[in-house]
Assembly symmetry: C2
Homo-oligomer: 321 residues x 2
């Protein structure tokens, strides 16, 4: 299996991505080949700092990058040889099984969706994030920002995609799906959320447990929490900042460390034809290594194939109804 790593992305390039690759080497099995995509000279310099043998990695020399503040669409269109375009292109042609980048989030999203294409039947590809519940077990929240304007039918697909991910990759049996809302009662919430509730309830392919509230994320009422990308993004960043505040006081405490997003790796963009993982700009080496691990797990468990099969079945069942 070949996993590509964007060396020219994130706030701490090239140090963090190279360190992540060094940390990930040999960690996820002997069949993993790490492909470092970036400026070859810089990569060799960084590997030397870690005393790592460059022959253990593949290097694709690539000196163009989409900057963190650049317009995603313009960056992707004007820089065909940027690390993001090269990495996604290699996934598309099968030269890579997955690609991870902590670079420009919008650019990764655009390149991944445009470059790899949607899985037939999926209305909106989505980005999720893993959180710990109060037992330190990961739960999935989605969408966390791919689609700030989400319609009820998009939320239905987030639920389906998130369930398949948690079941096939995270080995959660019949993942419980909760809809983020202001109260448990079906009658509560904005009009769109009420409509989403009805769709989730009627779907027949989800283990839908109903509305869940903000407090239920840590309290473990569900395994998959769905909402629009505006709300999900705010929840995610608020939760992460809580960890930052706590870390300033309780550095190294195992209980607090369970709230560190870096431990959970990234979730692949769900609903596209390939594995592409977007990391935080602030990702350090450890976070990049987790992202590589997440890509490996997604490939090993045939995530894309399982989503394709599920949405094909959904379509066939709908046809024969």
């Amino acid at each position: 299996m070949r996993i590509g790593v964007d060396i020219l992305g994130g706030d701490f390039w090239p140090e963090a991505p190279v360190e992540g690759a060094v940390l990930a080497l040999d960690k996820f099995g002997p069949d993993i080949e790490l492909v470092l995509i970036g400026d070859e000279n810089l990569i060799r310099q960084e590997l030397a700092k870690h005393g790592a043998d460059p022959s253990r990695f593949s290097i694709v020399n690539c000196t163009e990058m989409v900057g963190m503040e650049e317009s995603p669409t313009k960056g992707i269109a004007s820089k065909p040889n940027s690390t993001i375009n090269v990495g996604i292109g290699m996934v598309k042609t099968g030269q890579l099984d997955g690609f991870v980048s902590a670079g420009n989030t919008g650019a990764m999203l655009v390149a991944s969706i445009m470059g790899l294409g949607r899985i037939p039947g999926v209305n909106r590809p989505t980005i999720g994030a893993l959180f710990p519940n109060h037992n330190g077990e990961p739960i999935l929240l989605l969408d966390v920002g791919a689609n700030v304007d989400s319609k009820p039918e998009h939320i239905l697909h987030y639920a389906r995609l998130g369930s398949i991910y948690m079941e096939s990759v995270r080995k959660v049996e019949k993942p419980r799906v909760g809809l983020m809302n202001v109260g448990e009662e079906e009658s509560k919430g904005p009009a769109d959320v009420k409509a989403a509730h009805a769709l989730l309830k009627e779907s027949g392919r989800l283990n839908f447990v109903g509305n869940v509230e903000g407090r239920d994320i840590y309290h473990g009422k569900a395994d998959v929490y769905v909402c629009d990308g505006y709300t999900g993004n705010i929840i995610l960043k608020f939760g992460e900042s809580m960890y930052d505040v706590l870390k300033s006081r309780y550095a190294g405490d195992a209980f607090i460390e369970a709230f560190n997003f870096e431990n959970y790796g990234g979730v692949p963009i769900l609903g596209i034809r390939g594995i592409s993982i977007i990391g935080h700009g602030i990702s350090n080496g450890k976070a990049i290594a987790s992202m590589i691990g997440s890509a490996v797990e997604a490939v090993r468990n045939g995530l894309v194939q399982k989503i394709e099969a599920a949405f094909q079945t959904d379509a066939q069942t709908a046809d024969t109804k």
Copy 2:
């Protein structure tokens, strides 16, 4: 000054409200008279448990209550003699300067808005909540659930109401207003949020600092954070649950205790003609005492009068434009 306390509301009535009144007695100045509204026998029993002198309180005997699970509109309409209706009625007639209840949130909201009426010019009364930032200083988040479907012009009024509250009651000079969004750039976010951004920017009466993200709540980028009531409610409950999780591990720790909502009292419903404070159902005695303190501060600082004056000026300025 006379502050009414609903003794038949919340998950722990009559114990918690009576305990709260006992804790609040003499705490907020010699001019405060506490009016306990509820079953007189129960009140006297509870006061006796605390060894409190009943003659230090006023008691309004009232045995009807709107249950926590009851439909707010039906409860308010069918029980004119319930503690909530009696308390709000006494605010309306001037027999009370403020009323606090940890009872049925919807019933309190309906009774307060219908009973006391909106301040002219305010499009939607709103409920806010105080949070600590990373320095333990309170910031205000609103709306947290009064209006799950909030339009851009409602969000503008939340900002104006929240600023007046923070300035007049919490003594924050020129409170900074941030709009909850997924990124700093004006171009980001759902259509309604972008429209709200434009209104806030153009208002001329706010210290608007632009978009803020989930991570900025603790990091102190603003004093007033505005969003729709769906998002705000989820943020509030998520933040509170974080405290619950931490408390289970670090009971009594002062750093963690800064995240305890009970320390911050309640924020009056903003935009109505009177002081009415809704507490959490789970409020304990300490939380009720904080709510009483919040009511006292709001009355002392002439909050309602200041909002009336500000919205009158806004209207006049708009007329002469």
